[in-house]
């Protein structure tokens, strides 16, 4: 675990602390948006780290992690959560629509699977413009129930679009287990025969995921793979409820024992130690300061003026 690079570890910590800050703030009613927390799934977002600003990421309503990993502006993130004018969507999107085009976070959506073909189109446009940039779309296992998932892979393969389909398989679509939704729970298995390059990893091993993505991105830059797409299945687990800031073991749709493996092997347990080595202590404080600064910015920002209601419709 300690072999993990400092960059990966710090990103994981930042993602976790951002969501924990939302939990802390939620009872104050400062957060004006439903939140779908990434806690437990941070490792999957590390896939965004090897990308450059010119590469794009897309996601679903559970996208705090990818926003942070891709370098989305933290101040504007918290401002958006609070519905402020300075938010990353000017207060018009909220948690489910965060974006930061300057950092390559090109959009997240509240409709399951709806950013999958959009990411393919984005990547395909790069191919048509002869640009060696990739699009990375995060999707849940629930999204693989949708027809557009398979249609999008089919198009990306047949046109060799440089897009990474990253499936965070956390087993649950809200409360429905994947076994109740499909005979084949392993999605890589399910798409065999679609002629797509495919790898599997775990959010408990983000270093491995980082290396896999980096290898692919280098390939795209050098056109080694003929710029075809990549499918990545990341085994992962959501520790909190589908939407909201609490755990939900009491709901009975899943057992707490199921989470044991994920809690015990959580890379961030490193920080539980009372006596942190100095470099980790520095990292922790840096992350906390960044978040405090962002929250302060958000709290001091104004709400949007009413005239904003009609702005940017066309």
């Amino acid at each position: 675990m300690l072999e993990m690079s400092a960059q990966i570890l710090e990103t994981l910590l930042l993602i976790r602390k951002v969501d924990e800050k939302l939990i802390e703030l939620y009872p104050t009613d400062k957060i004006k948006s439903p939140v779908h927390l990434s806690i437990g799934q941070e490792g999957a977002a590390i896939a965004a780290l090897p990308l450059s600003k010119e590469d794009a990421v897309f996601g679903s309503y559970r996208s705090h992690a990818l926003y942070v990993a891709k370098g989305g502006d933290l101040k504007r993130f918290f401002a958006e959560m609070m519905g402020k004018a300075t938010g990353c969507c000017g207060g018009k999107g909220g948690s489910m629509h965060i974006c930061d085009p300057e950092a390559g976070v090109m959009g997240t959506s509240a409709i399951v699977a709806s950013t999958i073909p959009v990411a393919v189109g984005w990547a395909y446009a790069n191919k048509l413009k002869k640009k060696n940039n990739v699009a990375l779309v995060f999707l849940g296992d629930g999204a693989t129930d949708e027809g557009t998932f398979y249609e999008s892979i089919n198009f990306a393969v047949s046109r060799s679009a440089p897009v990474i389909f990253l499936c965070e398989n956390n087993r649950y679509a809200i409360h429905s287990h994947i076994k109740d939704r499909s005979r084949v729970s392993n999605i890589s298995e399910r798409i065999k025969g679609m002629d797509i390059l495919s790898i599997q990893g775990s959010s408990l091993d983000p270093e491995d995921l980082y290396n896999g993505i980096q290898g692919y991105v280098e390939g795209v830059r050098e056109e080694i793979f003929g710029i075809g797409p990549l499918f990545v299945e990341v085994d992962t687990y959501r520790l909190y409820e589908h939407v909201g800031i609490k755990t939900d073991w009491h709901k009975g749709y899943r057992k707490e024992s199921e989470a044991r493996k994920w809690i015990e092997n959580d890379p961030l347990r490193l920080f539980d130690s009372k006596e942190l080595p100095m470099w980790l202590e520095v990292m922790k404080q840096r992350v906390e300061n960044k978040i405090e600064e962002a929250v302060k910015f958000a709290e001091e920002s104004p709400f949007p003026e009413k005239v904003e209601l009609y702005k940017d419709l066309w």
Binding site: A56, C99, S109, P117, K129, T148, L313
Partner: protein
Amino acid sequence: MNNENEKIVSYGEAINLAISSKMDLDKSIYILGQGADDPTSAAGPLQGLKERFTDRIMDVPMAEESIAGICVGMAMNGLRPINWHIRMDFLLLAMNQIINMASKIKYMYGGRMTCPVSFRAMIGKSWGQGPQHSQSLYPQFINIPGLKVYAPAIPFDAEASYVSMLEEGVPALMIEHRLLYYQKGIVPTDYLPFVKDATRVLRRGRHITLVGVSQMAIECLRASKILQSVGIEAEVITPVVLKPLDIIPISASVIETGNLLFVDNSWMFGSLGAETISTLHENRISFNSARMGFAETVCPTSPTLEDAFYPNPVSIAYKVCELLDVPYLIPELKTKYEKEEIEFKGPF
């Protein structure tokens, strides 16, 4: 024809002219659609484009939602895709991307991204199009903020609508009609027109305002000829842009005539006729009004039933006589109307 700055083309040729001229000027325009590279299945307007623009005219898999989404992504990344659907009915499979994504991207991302994507769909009619090849679903689309909806009825406006749509770069839906493709009219040869009049007056008249949407504009013009035989002069108007609607030419006309018959090219419930008449009333204009549209049932295939399903020039003329309270003129109407082709002459 004595003006060398004009020529007569069909509606289909006008679309072809606009798209090919814009594609020459703007290398970011692509056309994606099922059969887009097949000159016969795309029903004419794309003829010759595959040879000219090769890879920018793309046939695509049968995956409406995903192809619409792919076009959204291409548009967000600086291209100008036009997503073609050979029947409006097929758009229902792409609704999620058109309404949940394309129409909302600029707004929900705080104005930081744009989505200059165009959707193009054709309404079918006659020859047994039946329940699923005849729908004209613009009432569904004009209800959506952020989506511009065009429904040009004449060649000049078809060309102008394409030019405007491709220049403006807002998410838009272009509604065409199968029966309009062969209608002829004048287009300019020395410049590319854009939409100056979002609502067009096609014919002047002082007794009644007839508003027809898409192909119903042609049926209204035919009705106006029938009405002329009993001395009723109808003003015929068609909205080129359905959303946002420019209601001013309609209000101006209704103020003059005091009578409005709105002929929707769709079912009437919750459609543009209802919307227009309410808005005029809210503006305190006093007038008599009536509406026509598709029969409140599924479009049948058999010609005898289909004839009863659509308003036609004769039924429109009858309705006008009822609205003007001159039912005694009905027997006088020259109901044996000849289905002549109507040519549109300027000035525009």
